[in-house]
Structure formats: C-alpha cells, structure tokens
C-alpha cells in the first residue's frame, strides 16, 4: 500500500506560545478513508489547514501526493480537493455555474469539465437542481454540492471537514452513502474530520484521535474499540447483599459499584461472559432487577484517551458556525 500523505513533525505555534499542533506524525495510505477525531481546539482543523496549504506550518512539513506542502504549495493545491465546513458556493449562481467556475480555477478543459459536472451531479442526485440558483437549495443539497465542487478536477485526495455538521440524522446517513460511493467509484483518498464519532466509525478505514495537537492513538475503529479491553455488563440487584456476592465473581476483569444495589462488570467479551454471569446469579439465588450490556463505541474510546467526552465542549465556535450555516440554508 502506498503512502499518499505523510506528516513530518508538523507543528503550528500561534502567537509564539500556543501550540495548536505539536510534532504531529501521520501516515495515510492511498485509497483509504482516514478519520481525524478530537475535541474542539485539539488541532484537527489547524492540521487540515496546513495540509491544504491554507496556512504554513511553523516547523516540520508534510508530503501530500508527492509534493511538499511548504515548498510546492501550488502543486499540492492542484491535486487535492477541499470540502470545508462552511458553505462556499455562491448563492447567486446556479449549482452548475458554481461547479464550472471552480473547474476553471483548476484549468480543467471545458469539454472535460462539462462531462465531469454531469457525472458528479448524478453521483449526488443533483441533476434536477443543477440549473437552479444555489440560494434555493436545502441544507442537505448545499452540502452535496460542496462535496462535488471539491471533486471537479479529479483530485487524488479529498479533505472533508465536518461533512454533516448541522444536518438532520436522515440527511446525514444519506451523506455517508454518498461519501462511500465517491470513495468506491473514484478511488480518491478521503481525509475526514468529524465531531460525530459514529460518523467516523461508519466511514473511516482508520482513525487517529488527536488532542492538544498530538496523536493519541491510531487504528481501525474496531481496533480502537478493542483496545479498551472490555465490554460492560450493568447489573442492578434487589439488595446490597447481592452486590457483595457479585464482587466475588471470578474470571472477570473488574467489578465496581455503580450506585445503589448496582454493579458494573467489565469483561473481555460480553457475548461470552453473559451466560457465566447469569449462571453465577442463579447459582447464588440472587434476584436481578435490571441487566444491560454496553459495547464500547468510539465515544468511550475517545473518553478513555482524552479524558473527556467529545460532547463536552460543543457550545463553542463550531456550534455557532453550525447555527449560522443553518440560518443561511433553507432546510
């Protein structure tokens, strides 16, 4: 597998002391969907902005599709596609005019551009709306338009920054299908940042969790979830005596109190451990009130590695931006 993006001690320091990104080393393979997850201010957007040559690194560099982002920024821009968080299409032009204009930015020959536009519009089901002013599009349509504007010049790498921020659940799932389709049909490498960890779980082949400008862990979503070493079985019993007995259960990773008459049992694999837990309960003649199984999601992985929940700081700039985008798009 060939590496298409490699960062080498990539660093961005703002105002002489704020280290937004610190000696970041990433290696991204051609053709994969690579997720970047992290809380607000973790350095995701700064990293992306350096990779797309919108800002220059303070130290270190990165190689994108064979070009150095510091020395060959123009070449980098030509081989990458960008789908920013915000809407960038001109509302006073039609969808098609927007795509054609951006094609001209990349010197795509006119005939080729026309052909591309048709294919791309079809890919995200925008053929019927193509000749309407973007002003009349819904939020989901505008996101889809942004998605294909980033693809007009057949880029080798596509950067997707929060592709579904502010969209409703149904539209989000639809967007995921479009992203998968694009990856499959065009074979483009996709770098995805998202607040929604289930989105990264659903789309990404590999993911890096970033905080304080550093990579905390990298792996496939399955590996990361597996790294937590354990599923959780929550058990509520009818009395405290039962709790004490449960705490003596052998062959589990850990049994901890979880409120009145409740325990939280950590096991390697809940599917296999559950019958043992039930046997243990019945052999000690305990009566249970409630039994639930928790499989770790990326949210738990995130919590484990960053020490905070990704939802904690959602009142920040992203939420404001989201509200602004929503106001601008008729939904």
């Amino acid at each position: 597998m060939t590496t298409i993006i490699e960062t080498r001690n990539l660093t961005k320091i703002y105002g002489g002391h704020t280290r937004a990104v610190a000696d970041l080393n990433l290696s991204i393979n051609e053709g994969e969907i690579y997720g970047l997850a992290g809380p607000n201010g973790a350095g995701k957007t700064t990293t992306i902005n350096m990779l797309i040559t919108r800002i220059a690194p303070t130290k270190g560099t990165a190689i994108v599709a064979g070009f150095d982002i510091v020395k060959k920024s123009l070449e980098v821009r030509r081989v990458i596609g960008v789908v920013p968080q915000d809407f960038t299409a001109d509302e006073d032009l039609t969808g098609r005019e927007n795509i054609m204009m951006v094609s001209q930015f990349y010197d795509v020959p006119r005939a080729k551009a026309r052909e591309n536009v048709e294919n791309l519009l079809k890919l995200v089901d925008l053929e019927d709306a193509a000749d309407r002013l973007v002003r009349t599009y819904s939020g989901g349509m505008r996101k889809r338009l942004e998605l294909i504007i980033g693809l007009v010049h057949d880029p080798r790498v596509l950067f997707l920054d929060e592709p579904t921020l502010g969209l409703d659940i149904q539209t989000r799932t639809q967007m995921w299908n479009y992203v998968r389709d694009i990856q499959k049909k065009l074979g483009v490498t996709i770098i995805l940042t998202s607040h929604y960890l289930e989105e990264i779980d659903a789309l990404a082949d590999r993911v890096s969790i970033i905080d304080h400008g550093k990579v905390l862990i990298t792996g496939t979503p399955a590996e990361l979830k597996g790294s937590l070493k354990g599923d959780i079985i929550n058990l509520t019993l009818s009395d405290q005596k039962g709790v004490d007995i449960m705490k003596t259960m052998p062959d589990v990773i850990e049994v901890a109190d979880a409120g009145p008459n409740a325990v939280r049992i950590k096991v390697a694999n809940a599917d296999e451990a559950l019958p043992r837990v039930i046997n243990y309960i019945s052999s000690h003649e305990l009566s249970t009130v409630k039994l639930t199984v928790e499989k770790p999601s990326l949210d738990e992985v995130f919590l484990e590695y960053t020490g905070r929940s990704i939802r904690d700081d959602e009142g920040g700039a992203d939420a404001r931006k989201m509200a602004m985008n929503l106001r601008r798009a008729r939904t």
Binding site: I52, T53, R54, L74, R77, R78, V82, P84, D86, F87, T88, A89, D90, E91, D92, L93, E97, M100, M101, V102, Q104, F105, Y106, D107, I149, R328
Partner: protein, 268 residues
Amino acid sequence: MSGLWPLTVRELKKWIRNPTFFFTGLIQPIFWIALFGSAFDITKFFPSASGSPLLSGAPNYITYIVGGVLTTMGLFTAMFAGTQIIFDRRLGPMGRFLSSPIRRSSIVFSKIISSVIRIMPQVVILVIAAYLIPNGLKFVHGFTVLDVLVLATAIILVAFIFSSIFSVIATRMTNMQSIFGIVNLVNLPLMFVSFAMFSKEMMANWLADIAQYNPVSWSAESIRMVIINGNLTASQWMQVGRWLGALAALAAGLLLLTAYLAEKEIRD
C-alpha cells in the same frame, strides 16, 4: 491558472442578474446630471458668470460640469468595489478561492475590473442624458474620436484607482460597517476638494491648493478640456497629457501595490 477570468465573469453575472443593483446603477447618472446640474449651477448664483472664466469658456453649467459628474460617479461606484470582498469572506466563497490554485490577487483584481466595467454603461447614459436635458451638454467646438478616448481613459483610470484603494482596504476587513464608514468619511471631501463641480477661481486658495493634487480633479479637468474645446491646441494637449499621465502613473503604482498586498494579506 490565474482565475481572473472566471472570477470576473462571476461578478458580472451577479450584477446583471440583480435587477435592483443593475437598474439603479443605470438610473443614477440621469439623477446626478439633472440634480447636480441644477443645484450647483453657478450661473444662477452669479448671472454674469455665463461665458466668463468661471466656466472656463463653457456655454452653460451642464457642459462645464459633465466631466466632474462623470468622474464623481465613477468614484462613488468604485468606492464600493471592496464591499464584495467582505461579502465573499462572510458568506463563504472566499474559503473556496483561497484553497484553489489561483492567484490570490485575482480575487481582488476581479472586483476592480468588474467595477470598472460596471461604470461604463453609466458613462454612456450620463452623456446621453446630459445631451438631452433642456439647456444641456453642448459640443460647441465639435467632439472627435480622440476626445472620446480621453474621456474613456480618464474615467477608466479614476475607476481603477479608487476601486484598487478600496479593495485593498477591504482585504483585511471583516466588518461591512467599517468600509461604509470609510466611504462616508472620504466621498464628499474627495468630490468637493476637487475641480469636479467648481473652478479654481471659485475656491478658497487653500482648498484649490489641495484640489490640484486630487485625482478627481485631473480626470474632471481633462474631460472638461476636451468637451469644451473640441479640437485642442498643442498646449492644451500637453495639459491633458499631464493630467492623464499623472492618473496613469498613480494607477500603475496602485496596480503593483494591489498585486503585492493581495497576494500577501488576503485572509479568510
């Protein structure tokens, strides 16, 4: 590669498609010449002024003032060239431009060029309106192709100069109110501290001293010279050449400055 062409086409499409923007722009010259031509008519203040040095030999005030009104109209339209940059930044398209492999100065130059183009039909309408209104524009000594060229050159240069200045200011601004504030601060001074509406003889000395360095004066005076005199003498041509030369030099300087600053300073 440079992106200048698609960006300029975009600006012009937006202009033509916005009926309010388009038609008010076309009606404006008629208002201006009719109102300014009457309001500032110095021959009404001083009935003896007709044909006197106060009008530099023009048969009436409209003929005298056309060059000034054309220039101020170019100036006022040009001063808003920068606002589109702020809109692009606030509404998102700037993000797209900055991540594309285009020259960053193209973003700014597309505003300047489209602003200059938008002024052209206004110029034509204003000249026609001035000609048609009662006691209006009179070409006593004829009007040659060369005179038309002088008029067009002066307006294009003035429009370019002020579009550049205000676009450069806008490259670092995020707030629409700031640019409107600056426009309001300088528009009337630029218009009145110039020979656009009144001749040197009617001004306080200190005002006339400043006005002679105002590019608005250079443009207004060169247009006035060809409109009033038709076929110019050699010394009159020299004078027009000096004015247009000064405008061209200033425009060239601003072209370089804009190119440099736009590449360096334009931000999201």
